[in-house]
């Protein structure tokens, strides 16, 4: 009985880190979304200069482990602004994710049939309007499956802010393990929590995907 109680307390303590984990994930995903869309648009519609820059950015960031990107950005940010590790870490993860999201959106944009742009221009839309009202809405919906995959990845990568001391699930598990000297229970519980989170996220995104799926 005592064991069960302890386990319950453990899970309770760890689950207070859920908010942090979800917070980091949400900030990272949205940062990545904003920058990723812009980068994708630059790559598809920007000229050789802007497009080249976006391509280089994407290639460089995707060629480096997320943890290295995290460190570099954290140190760079820390030099200029006084951000909490939580925000700095979340933002850094967002920058990393933006490179992957830009690939996703780029692929989606170019898979919108070219006739759509033609028809939009034919009724007198400027290029900008055509992109905003015809191309992007379709591209974003085409991107949903790949994006859901990315969301799950970011959720798991959020555990990396552990190295910045952010009190998310894993860090809390480590504290517990240091105090109780029962590391297996602590880390297994952490794994369980992450598993539940990932599972729920996947299910919710499945629902979204089914609802907003674009039929061509």
């Amino acid at each position: 009985m005592d064991q069960l109680q302890n386990f319950g307390l453990l899970v309770y303590y760890l689950s207070q880190g859920v908010g942090v984990t979800l917070g980091v994930t949400a900030i990272a995903l949205s940062t990545g979304f904003v920058f990723g869309t812009i980068l994708a648009l630059l790559r598809v519609y920007g000229g050789p200069l802007l497009g080249g820059f976006a391509a280089a950015y994407s290639m460089v960031i995707r060629g480096v482990p997320v943890i290295v990107v995290l460190f570099i950005l954290f140190f760079v940010i820390a030099q200029f602004i006084n951000l909490s590790p939580f925000l700095a870490g979340a933002f850094a993860l967002g920058i990393a994710s933006s490179a992957y999201q830009s690939e996703i959106f780029r692929g989606a944009i170019i898979s919108v049939p070219p006739g759509q742009m033609m028809a939009a221009r034919a009724i007198g839309m400027s290029r900008l309007k055509a992109i905003l009202y015809v191309i992007l809405p379709q591209a974003l919906r085409l991107a949903i499956p790949s994006w859901s995959n990315e969301a799950a990845i970011v959720l798991k990568d959020s555990s990396l802010v552990y190295v910045l001391g952010v009190p998310e699930i894993l860090r809390r598990a480590q504290y517990v393990s240091a105090r109780t000297h029962e590391p297996f229970i602590a880390f297994a519980a952490a794994a369980l929590l992450y598993f539940v989170l990932t599972f729920l996220t996947n299910r919710s995104l499945d629902v979204v995907e089914r609802r907003y799926r674009l039929q061509m």
């Binding site: 460089v60 480096v64 943890i67 290295v68 995959n149 598990a173 590391p183 297996f184 952490a190 598993f195």
Partner: protein, 226 residues
Amino acid sequence: MNDLMVFIERVGPDLIEGTIITIQLTLVALALGVVVGLPAALARVYGGPWLRRFAVAYIEIFRGTPLLVQLFVVYYGLPDLGITFSRFAAAYITLGLNSGAYQAEYFRGAIQAIGSGQMVAARAIGMTQIKAIRYIILPQAVRLALPAWSNEAISMVKYTAIVFLIAVPDLMTKAKILSSRYFNPIPVYITVAIMYIILVAIFTVIVRNIERKMETPGLELEVERH
């Protein structure tokens, strides 16, 4: 320019050592991933009810939890239960099992994409299920899974960085050591970033070459991982 030479002299040897370990980790983890992942995929498609459940559990657990958490469970958690691994062993095992779960899904997708018609045709000429798998299904599945597997291979270089948290002396660990030794994190990490980029590029070239040599017209499996 002189500063640069001094810098390279200081950090060069350590970084090279670290790179070698990183390459080692990548190759062993990939190999382990195949050794575990392929049977898991086969178990999932062709296994009996218990075998299948076990395979699914393995795959879902390792794909549904962060690599870092898995690493801690193996290296810090298991000793609690009496199973102790050295740093290297823990790193190989975790990376290998993790990769195996993702690879299992790529292989499973490929096997299922090949279609039951192939199996039926093989059985119809008298092959046992095992023979059919070995001579008909697998050769095709491996080729179909190649693009997704290649991405995994290229990404593996990056995943290995995580082992710095259990002090395996790979490139990332060296970066940490060097930056605290010389109190200068940014140049060190940027150099390390460049080295990872080069490593990833080299792996990409090698892997794409293999892909091209083994190319067969057919379905493309698209799954994105980092």
